[in-house]
């Protein structure tokens, strides 16, 4: 009795891609969400994720345990900044953070935030206006619900840096939401 006429290209490769599909592909949504918020548009986000997944597949053998999601999101982030043709944003944006960001905030009325925060459109626009390092940390924390430790793993920062940057990001987002009258949309299109 002849065995399978066209045997699958089985062996190590098939087992590997099966493992990849079982362990990494479930985090495709997380990868895309981060890529979308970094890249600002669906087409670029797809490119970033596609490239990141190829890299992940290539490096998969060197991944030994740990958190797959953290590992994949770090690859997505690196891929994004590489495709953008610039290095990681840390050095670039430090001064920008500190400049724009007043340490003491004269608190705008919380009601304004309440009103704006329920308006998802305004929230989305405000989030898009943030500089990439502040946006990415908010996306990782609030949308991906990563812990500080996971964020530190993804962005290669210390936990203290994660905490202070998150504080800045929130303060900046709040200012975007409250200090900017809705009619003024100068910076909406970046």
């Amino acid at each position: 009795m002849p065995t399978e006429p066209n045997a699958r290209p089985s062996g190590a490769d098939a087992a590997r891609s099966e493992r990849f599909e079982a362990q990494v592909v479930p985090y495709l949504d997380a990868a895309y969400n981060l890529a979308f918020w970094l890249a600002h548009n669906p087409a670029d986000a797809q490119d970033v994720v596609q490239e990141a997944m190829l890299r992940a597949l290539r490096y998969f053998d060197s991944f030994h345990g740990g958190d797959v999601r953290v590992w994949l999101l770090a690859i997505v982030r690196n891929t994004f900044y590489t495709l953008r043709g610039r290095g990681l944003p840390d050095a670039l944006h430090e001064e920008l953070d500190d400049d724009i960001h007043p340490l003491v905030d004269d608190a705008p009325s919380p009601e304004a935030v309440t009103l704006l925060a329920v308006d998802v459109g305004a929230l989305q626009a405000a989030l898009e206006r943030l500089p990439a390092p502040l946006r990415e940390i908010l996306v990782l924390r609030e949308l991906e619900e990563c812990s500080y430790k996971e964020i530190a793993g993804i962005t290669g920062q210390k936990i203290g840096t994660v905490m202070s940057r998150l504080a800045r990001a929130r303060e900046r987002l709040r200012n975007e939401l409250t200090c900017r009258p809705k009619e003024v949309r100068r910076h909406d299109v970046r």
């Binding site: 599909e21 592909v25 985090y27 918020w37 669906p42 989030l127 500080y148 905490m163 504080a167 709040r174």
Partner: protein, 258 residues
């Protein structure tokens, strides 16, 4: 604590990343300082608003298709074989195709493993199905005293229903489901945006230790206690799900705390 310190630490407090001493100090400061309290509340509102599901972008189907083995590809294979093969092969290929087509998709994930893993696979299937369309809940309520009576007469046992909102796992509802040919109660809890399904049904035997399995990004924790079998499943991380199980066991029976 000074307001300057509070400005930074209130974020860690909001994110539940402070240790017990830090949290207590922060809580005291917020009680004492109206300005910081107002800022904190603003951030809490913003955090809640950011958990709005429409802000989360899911991968488009085209992208997902590129990275998943589609079921039709399996079916297509035997056709190619049929063209090239004599009839004997074709019959064999047809049989193989029938086997492949009649096998539930999850069997490919879990080739030939123990009985326990079948439960895991079924739990994943049920969990995934529960998230499709409107299948998640038969009874929608955050009140355990509404959810529990709803099961009456629908099951031959009375499920344990606990409100774990204080631990960060609000109860959102329940439904009937089936696992291993039993009718089971499925309780639906949330961890922020994530859904946790907790299945339970009567079982003989004594309390057994937890078994934790990870498949396809889902974590499944099974245990037996008080004459019931429990299976908890979610896409939250393993630590969170363990915390959920612990919270549920604590409530159900303090003696079972591990």
């Amino acid at each position: 604590m000074m307001c300057d310190d509070a400005g930074l630490l209130m974020h860690a407090y909001l994110d539940d990343e402070l240790d017990a001493a830090g949290s207590a100090a922060m809580a005291r400061h917020l009680d004492a300082c109206a300005a910081c309290k107002a800022r904190y509340e603003t951030y809490a509102i913003m955090q809640k608003a950011l958990s709005e599901p429409t802000l989360y972008r899911r991968a488009p189907d085209a992208l997902r298709a590129r990275w998943s083995t589609p079921a039709p590809a399996v079916a297509a294979r035997p056709h190619a074989a049929r063209r090239r093969s004599p009839w004997v092969f074709a019959a064999a290929a047809g049989f193989a195709a029938a086997m492949l087509l009649s096998t539930p998709a999850w069997l490919h994930w879990l080739p030939a493993r123990g009985v326990g893993d079948a439960v895991v696979a079924q739990a994943i299937s049920s969990h995934v199905r529960s998230l499709q369309g409107e299948h998640l809940m038969d009874v929608v309520s955050t009140d355990q005293h509404t959810v529990k009576p709803w099961f009456e007469g629908k099951l031959d046992f009375s499920p344990r229903v606990k409100d774990l909102a204080a631990e960060g796992f609000p109860l959102v509802g329940g439904r009937l489901d089936a696992l291993e040919g039993h009718s089971v109660a499925a309780l639906v809890y949330k961890r922020r945006l994530h859904v946790i399904n907790l299945f339970q049904w009567p079982a003989e035997g004594t309390a057994s230790a937890q078994a934790i399995a990870q498949e396809h990004g889902y974590t499944v924790i099974r245990w037996t206690g008080d004459g019931m079998r429990y299976v908890a499943i979610s896409d939250v991380n393993e630590g969170d799900l363990k915390q959920f199980v612990l919270a549920f066991q604590n409530e159900a029976n303090p003696a079972m705390t591990r």
